[in-house]
């Protein structure tokens, strides 16, 4: 005869019942097994099969253990006594927790979490402010204290528009410490947009004096003078031809554009700004590619529409007019000035500048080619034809490789967002689980609700590890230190696709702008009211109606 008590004791394991109740339960369950065994033997079944049949009555001993405890004590089995797959007694749960903590310690993983755009987080597109006010003040303070020009220049470049005085002061101090940083005057001038009450010219003059060979300063001057001229502009026809003619007659704008066209080189200082932003962000402990990318948004770029007007003046008003008048050399001179300007613009690494350079050179060549042919200058025409054919047909919007990068970025962004939401929820659940479990380890009778919650949340640590791995893998293709990026273009191709995808995924139809700011608290209140209402209905459910005889 098997020792049924021993079998039950072994299979049931620890059963923390008090006052000898544990032994009683074991004895009673052993009797159940013994009776079933004896009955099977009486039916002529052999001992081994009878034993198997008897034991088959209790398939899940762990569940039986939990249910017996709950029935006897009226409470869940203490979490530290549970043997479930995810109970704190199981070491894989703690390994999962440790691995999650290790992932959190990885800079790549934190970078993935930090890039999630949340309301109030930085950077906030399309603003040039990439750091919070407090962080920017810290940078400014350390720059002031250490007399560090590059930190001050960073503050000047990335101060919010509303805090212009601070930007100006920081720029003055930065340039005084290191005159090689005078290029930041391009940003401080605010020349590319109308800024009421602000005169951009002193800064532009400073830039011209510091870098006289660069056409960029003259383009900024033309932009600033155009804004100055905006009020009288309204009286002209809105048609491009009318506006172009009016602009051509405006010397303050035209002379600046002529100088920009004649300048030996064009440099928007993006290499300088990239190097400065990357260096200061790294020094300040912000190794975050999305911040560096957003830093590039503050880079001043001349107004392309105005350059187009000037190109049209050269090609149509001067070139075509001279061509019609039979002044071939004058016409060619105007056309070639556009080509040369395009070539200088080509040196600028920005995609926009390169696309624009290609476009205006193509337009100019298309004017030059028939003119040379009609004048019998076949050799020159052939050279121009080759130059025209060699122009890359780059179009940013239909570039196949960028499309595939964008599609890949969107896919990764979805994985990142879903995983990040899960990491946030499961991370919270894991922290609560950890608090409850530690409290209950310290004192098993600490709190029944704590024990219930700890038991319910035991899935959180392993699930957190899975969500963290998904986040890590989703972000890994884009995980790089900003020190590994060498230009804004590098960032645009290597990082921007996933960042843009992330903003598209998380926007949910302007969720950040409208829903969270206007609907968050009303929704919380509605949910609270709904909960109270549901609770009252539940309470009222079994109450007799006032007109019911039982109500009395």
């Amino acid at each position: 005869m098997p020792d049924w008590k021993k079998i039950v004791r072994e299979k049931l394991g620890t059963l923390p019942l008090t006052n000898g109740r544990r032994d009683e339960v074991i004895e009673e369950l052993a009797q159940q097994l013994e009776s079933a065994y004896e009955e099977a033997l009486a039916q002529g079944i052999n001992e081994q099969e009878a034993m198997q049949r008897s034991l088959a009555q209790f398939k899940d001993w762990e569940r039986l253990r939990c249910e017996v405890f709950q029935s006897v004590e009226g409470a869940r089995l203490p979490v530290w006594e549970q043997n479930g797959a995810f109970s704190p007694r199981r070491w894989p749960v703690w390994i999962a927790l440790g691995l999650s903590a290790l992932l959190f310690a990885l800079p790549t993983f934190r970078q993935a979490l930090e890039m999630i755009p949340l309301p109030g987080s930085y950077p906030e597109p399309p603003s040039s402010q990439i750091l919070s006010d407090a962080a920017l003040r810290r940078v400014e303070h350390s720059g002031d204290k250490q007399k560090y020009a590059r930190a001050l220049a960073f503050v000047a470049l990335h101060s919010p528009k509303e805090d212009d005085e601070r930007a100006v002061q920081a720029a003055e101090k930065a340039i005084a410490l290191d005159p090689q940083l005078t290029w930041i005057a391009a940003k401080i001038s605010h020349a590319t947009y109308l800024y009421p009450g602000y005169d951009p010219h002193p800064w532009i003059e400073r830039l011209k004096a510091w870098d006289p060979q660069n056409g960029f300063a003259y383009m900024l001057e033309a932009d600033a003078n155009f804004h100055w001229w905006e009020t009288p502009w309204t009286k002209y026809s809105a048609t491009p031809g009318g506006l172009r003619a009016a602009l051509a007659a405006e010397p303050r704008w035209r002379i600046s554009m002529e100088k920009a066209f004649a300048a030996p080189r064009i440099d928007f200082y993006d290499a300088q700004q990239f190097a400065l932003d990357r260096q200061v962000l790294l020094e300040q402990g912000f190794d975050r590619p999305e911040m560096l990318l957003a830093a590039g948004w503050s880079q001043p770029v001349p107004v392309l529409m105005l350059i187009s007007f000037y190109i049209d003046i050269q090609l149509k008003d001067i070139g075509e007019t001279a061509e019609k008048a039979g002044r071939t050399d004058d016409a060619l001179a105007a056309y070639w000035s556009v080509v040369r300007f395009g070539e200088r613009l080509k040196a600028e690494p920005m995609d926009t500048a390169q696309t624009y350079s290609n476009k205006l050179r193509r337009d100019a060549y298309k004017h030059i080619l028939p003119l040379l042919r009609s004048n019998g200058r076949a050799a020159e025409a052939s050279a121009v034809e080759s130059a025209l054919a060699a122009l890359p047909r780059f179009d940013y919007s239909v570039e196949p490789s960028y499309f595939s990068l964008e599609a890949m970025g969107n896919r990764s962004a979805r994985v990142i967002v879903v995983s990040a939401i899960l990491v946030a929820l499961l991370g919270t659940a894991t922290i609560l689980w950890l608090i409850f479990v530690i409290a209950l380890k310290w004192n098993a009778d600490f709190s029944r609700p704590f024990n219930r919650l700890a038991s319910s949340l035991c899935f959180a640590p392993p699930a957190l590890l899975l969500a963290s791995i998904a986040l890590f893998l989703g972000y890994y293709p884009y995980a790089r230190s900003i020190a590994q990026f060498h230009s804004y273009k590098d960032l645009e191709y290597g990082y921007a696709p996933v960042l843009v995808g992330l903003y598209n995924v998380t926007r949910f139809g302007n969720l950040n702008d409208v829903w969270l700011s206007h609907m968050f608290w009303p929704s919380v209140w509605c949910a609270a009211v709904a909960l109270v209402g549901a609770g009252l209905l539940w309470w009222m459910r079994d109450r007799p109606r006032p007109d019911h005889p039982d109500a009395a």
């Binding site: 009683e24 339960v25 009797q31 159940q32 569940r63 709950q70 029935s71």
Partner: protein, 126 residues
């Protein structure tokens, strides 16, 4: 009297079966499980793994009381109804009768209507 919800009914049925079996006399767990299967002619089968937790729960509520008594050369834990358990049994039985009576009236009325209609159609064919 309102009929309890489906979930309560299922939960209550298991309790009702045990309380009803203990009304006659004190019984031990093995006997209770066997009797449920025998008296229902095999229609109702009580999973043994659920039986003991349920017995302990009823005991904790004070509806039944378990005591060790000698039986066939060994001791067994016998359960008997307490006065509270007897009151609960009366309530649950009354509720069950109301419920099963209501169901029967509907089901049997439908069957009677079906029989009458079949008879009428057969008569017409004849």
């Amino acid at each position: 009297m309102a009929i309890a919800s489906d979930r309560e009914l299922k939960k209550g049925n298991a309790e009702l079966l045990i309380l009803a079996l203990l009304e006659e006399k004190a019984r031990h767990g093995y006997e209770i499980g066997k009797l449920i299967a025998e008296r229902s002619e095999g229609v109702l089968r009580f999973h043994v793994a659920s039986l003991y937790p349920l017995l302990y729960r009823l005991e904790r509520r004070g509806w039944i009381k378990g005591e060790w008594e000698p039986a066939g050369g060994r001791r067994r834990r016998y359960y008997r109804l307490t006065p509270t358990g007897r009151k609960i049994l009366a309530e649950q039985r009354s509720r069950w009768r109301a419920f099963s009576g209501a169901v029967n009236r509907i089901v049997e009325a439908g069957a009677a209507h079906h029989s009458a209609a079949s008879y009428s159609m057969e008569a017409q064919h004849a």
